[in-house]
Amino acid sequence: MIYEGKQKIWKDYQKEIPDDHWYYVRSCIRQNFFPASERKFTDITQQVLGKDVYETPYHTTCGGIAYHCDAIPQETAMTIVARQFALMTEAGYENYVPSCVTSFGNYIEILETWREFPELEARIREQLWKATRREFKKPKYLAHTSDLIYHWRNEIAEKASVRLIDHETGEPMRMAEHIGCHYAKMFPSKGIGGAEYPYVLAGMIESWGGQVVDYPERRHCCGYGFRQYHMKANRGYCVSNTHKKFESMEPYGIQAILTNCPGCCYFMDRWQYVIAEQTGKTYGKDGFGIPVFTYEELAGLVLGYDPWDLGLQLHQVAVEPFLDRIGVRYDPKAKYLGLNKEDILRPELPTNLKCF
């Protein structure tokens, strides 16, 4: 294909991302799963990159988790979202960036529903006014936090002190990327690269020196799927999906996985322990698992943050072999020291999955 033609087609898979002034909202579950990731997002964007990223303690859940678990109807989620938009309007921002992929999908779904059914938007505005005396403007731009890190990936690469290159061989680290289903599978035009060629995480890996590895089940769901996991009887289905992905990536020698969804990162990390306990099989080298990172953690690592400040001790799969490979210095004795340098106790070690 002619290069210009290729560029023109690729443009359809891009989206406009303003460079500054973002209203940031956190995720309900990420703060429990990987507590340092969101804190490091604000650190990296505000202090390292010097961007205006504002957040308020008054924001709440977007309602997406309850909506996708069939616990609340969409209209309830809409009113919660309307309040979030009101907080953004009051703070004087127009660009909205949620940290959770399901929130991102939830916001887009609601904005698209309002575009199709304006009378519903009017009713939600009325409900919000009656309940809170608040009004709101819809965001001019909506992006996911991984979109922003992707947008600033080259600035991060310029400031990087570590590259995703194997220290021993000099080869790029072989990494898989896993995009959350709610990022671009629901509304492909809203994600970088759409649902067919998602480039948001692949772009980060390539900019920071790694190699993106393709494998047959690359676009398969991680298995979380909300109501699958939240009902214990369905968890076998949940873990079976993750198992399918790991079986598929096994022959490709993948050294780490990068994710942009809270659930994907958590379940691909934790289920490796469950799979190892149930089948005796591990997928990394020498009995270890394959470490799974959030994009903030990976950005933090290349920028030279202390791995324990990034919360990597809370991962189920040991991250030390990966850190050794890319040449990150860390103090093994400080792994289980909390913020005040007090011992936070050690987890019980699994039977089959090798951990420290």
């Binding site: 214990k232 076998g236 399918k244 306990e277």
Partner: protein
């Protein structure tokens, strides 16, 4: 093994790259027209024994392509040949079934 209260469930998806298709290939060498089957199911629709015995030539050919054991179905065939008369591809289905029985013997 730790009891989590749930276990891995086996995938129902067929991995065709792992299917043993040696029987299908052998059948094709004896009855090359087996390759022309498009799986329309006319043979199964007209089969007299099918509703009672579970015989379905369409399923037999599909099963062989997937590397599955189709012997139980073959036992239900009475070799009446009605399927030969309706096959839109003109496959000599009775000969195909006989050849398959010979392979299994």
């Amino acid at each position: 093994m730790t009891d989590f209260g749930f276990t891995l469930s086996r995938s129902s998806a067929l991995d065709l790259s792992k299917a043993d298709t040696r029987l299908y290939e052998k059948l094709c060498s004896l009855s090359p027209d087996a390759r022309t089957c498009m799986g329309c199911g006319s043979c199964s629709a007209t089969c007299t024994a099918g509703p009672y015995s579970g015989m379905s030539l369409r399923k037999v050919i599909l099963g062989l392509q997937r590397g599955q054991d189709v012997r139980p179905m073959l036992k239900g065939c009475m070799l009446c040949g009605k399927c030969t008369m309706v096959c839109p591809r003109g496959i000599n289905t009775r000969q195909l079934i006989l050849n398959l029985c010979r392979i299994y013997d």
